[in-house]
Amino acid sequence: MNIHEYQARNLLEKHNIKFPKGKVGSTPKEIYNIAKSFGGKVMVKAQIHSGGRGKAGGVKICNSPSEAKEFSKKIINTRLITNQTGPEGYLVEKMFVTEITNIKKELYLSLLIDPDSECPVFIASLHGGMDIEKTVESNQANIVKMNCDPLVGIKPYKLKQFVDKLNLPKEGNSQIVSLLNNIYKAFINNDCSLIEINPLVIDDNENLVPLDCKITIDDDALFRNEEILKLRDINQENIMETRAKDYDLAYVKLTGGNVGCMVNGAGLAMATMDITTKSGCYPANFLDVGGSTDKEKIKEAFRILISDQDVKYILINLFAGIAKADLISEGIVEANNELNNELPIIVSMRGTNSESGFEILKNSNLNLYVANNLGTVSKLLLELEKQNDNFIR
């Protein structure tokens, strides 16, 4: 789960990390007042769950409260489109105002879980700010890393070596030690999968100042982080993906396709996408009904799937292990009847109770094409695609 910058700041402030003065506002008037109380010249930033806000015009240094007001008037309640949001962009409901910091040098700092070393890893770059992704790919020499030990935490001797490599001024050198320790505590206490400070700057007085931050929380750990869950902003999420999540389903919307895919298992989802694409058709989405399924869940899955206007036909590709194919089939039939679905459905189904599952489907009134193996799926896809007048690519 992502949270907004101002929420991330609050969370880090609770862990004794100090930021420049800042306050969030929802209306141009509020922005005006905040800017005024900060002395006039401020930075105003759109609060959306995406990076690349600067380049997209969502961040601006304003020289007066009036300028801040005008800028926020232009942005608030619009959808900001960045290189990470997709074409719909995200709705800006709040903007964050901070005082100006005079920047001598910009660094990048993050803490994330590295699946390879299976522990939290700090990553710093001597050059922070925008386009950090490119720096990481192109200039490994400027990247400094430190592994932490999940059982004993940050080891001071490693911390010393890490800090030494950053070549900070004297002041910053002692400040970064407590910064790193506090970030680590925040990371562990809140089940974070990412804490990113970018840029982390050296200011005029050689002090270390975090200017912007981003925090991602492990979705699987939200059950034990009630305070964090309160920060959730569903307006920053795809409505359908959110609805699927509420039913414990995984829905991913894809652009440019017309096949609605219902699968079980993430691997099969991806393989189904691959097969579909290879046969010359394109998935409009996929919906993973997962391992443990009941009829209600299947029905909801079907509802979500066909509510996608891009979907012209449906591919159900299941291999039942922990899930039971007969139950899934019953759910599909009931959902189709309830929703009066007439879109054609290709079904490939194997595993636990798959025979009785097929029986149920065959005995229904669905517009059904049965595939005995994945090779047949490709062929059926192509056939349907040829019949399909609405072919859009």
């Binding site: 699946p115 699987d220 691997g267 393989a271 694409t277 922990i322 090779g375």
Partner: protein, 289 residues
């Protein structure tokens, strides 16, 4: 011989809710020696009127000689169950549970270092050995054939698909191991490849990978130096958009190394045979064996 399991494997079950019960019954029907269940509030009861419940893993081990465990408990309690099985020195712990917090898995992977127990999963379908009629987990037994192809995979359903295709071409499986779709999990591709290479009953290995992480690259490196048996592989997610979590927590493309194309390249380079899509696994095996 098979890997990980043998005829002395005695299984205990933690988590016999709706799904756990169903799968346990299926396992018993298949032939698995399930000797006990563990539930702190159900001691002195019996599962299916014959398999005794115990209050703790330790007690179940002492009373029934269980040496392998399977976990179906909900994610919030899974870490504790895994640690309890590790503390009881089980040989194998298979965790089916999906959605365990990654911080928990991080703790477990560091805790298990140098412990006796081999962890499979979590978020995995488990292990099956068709020749022994023995399975721990949820791989459907009816799609398997005894044989000599080893299967290792991060994905549950793709494991089944590979198994089915192997059976359909008239061949069979020695052991199939689902190592799990989470970014941090127990046994790795490398661990399982090593076992298959050493297992005289395994003649060829099917490896099913997916986008995200660099574990397929590590497998390729290991194969190049240590595996003489033919390896057939497929990588799911060639057409997945970058940055999106594709269902599996581990299946996110962050950076170049996570791309399917990079993984395919690495494995081809070390002589592994590429099944270009999932439907071609059986075909590819047929061609080379």
């Amino acid at each position: 011989m098979t890997i990980l399991l043998d005829k002395n494997t005695k299984v205990l079950v933690q988590g016999v809710g709706r799904d756990g019960s169903f799968q346990t019954i299926k396992s018993i029907e298949y032939g698995t020696n399930v000797v006990s269940c563990v539930h702190p509030n159900r001691k002195d009861q019996f599962f299916q009127e014959k398999i005794p419940f115990f209050g703790s893993v330790k007690e179940a081990v002492e009373k029934t000689g269980a040496n392998a465990g399977v976990i179906y408990v909900p994610a919030p309690f899974a870490m504790d169950a895994i640690i309890e099985q590790i503390d009881a020195d089980l040989d194998v712990c298979v965790c089916i549970t999906e959605g365990i917090p990654i911080h928990d898995m991080m703790m477990i992977k560091n805790y298990i270092k140098n412990k006796k127990t081999k962890l499979i999963g979590p978020n995995c379908p488990g292990i099956i050995s068709p020749k022994l009629n023995l399975k721990i987990g949820i791989i459907p037994g009816n799609i398997c054939n005894p044989g000599n192809i080893g299967v290792v995979s991060r994905s549950g359903t793709l494991t089944y698909e590979a198994i089915a295709q192997i059976s359909e071409i008239g061949m069979g499986q020695s052991t199939c191991v689902g190592i799990g779709g989470d970014p941090i999990h127990g046994l790795s591709y490398v661990d399982v490849l090593k076992m298959f290479e050493e297992d005289p009953e395994t003649k060829a290995i099917v490896l099913i990978g997916e986008i995200g992480g660099t574990k397929e690259q590590s497998a390729a490196e290991y194969i190049s130096n240590n595996v003489a048996k033919p390896v057939i592989f497929t990588i799911a997610g060639s057409t997945a958009p970058p940055g999106k979590r594709m269902g599996h927590a581990g299946a996110v493309i962050n950076g170049k190394m996570g791309l399917a194309s990079e993984k395919i390249l690495a494995l081809k380079k070390v002589g592994a045979y590429h099944a270009e899509d999932l439907s071609k696994i059986g075909e590819t095996i047929k061609q080379i064996l």
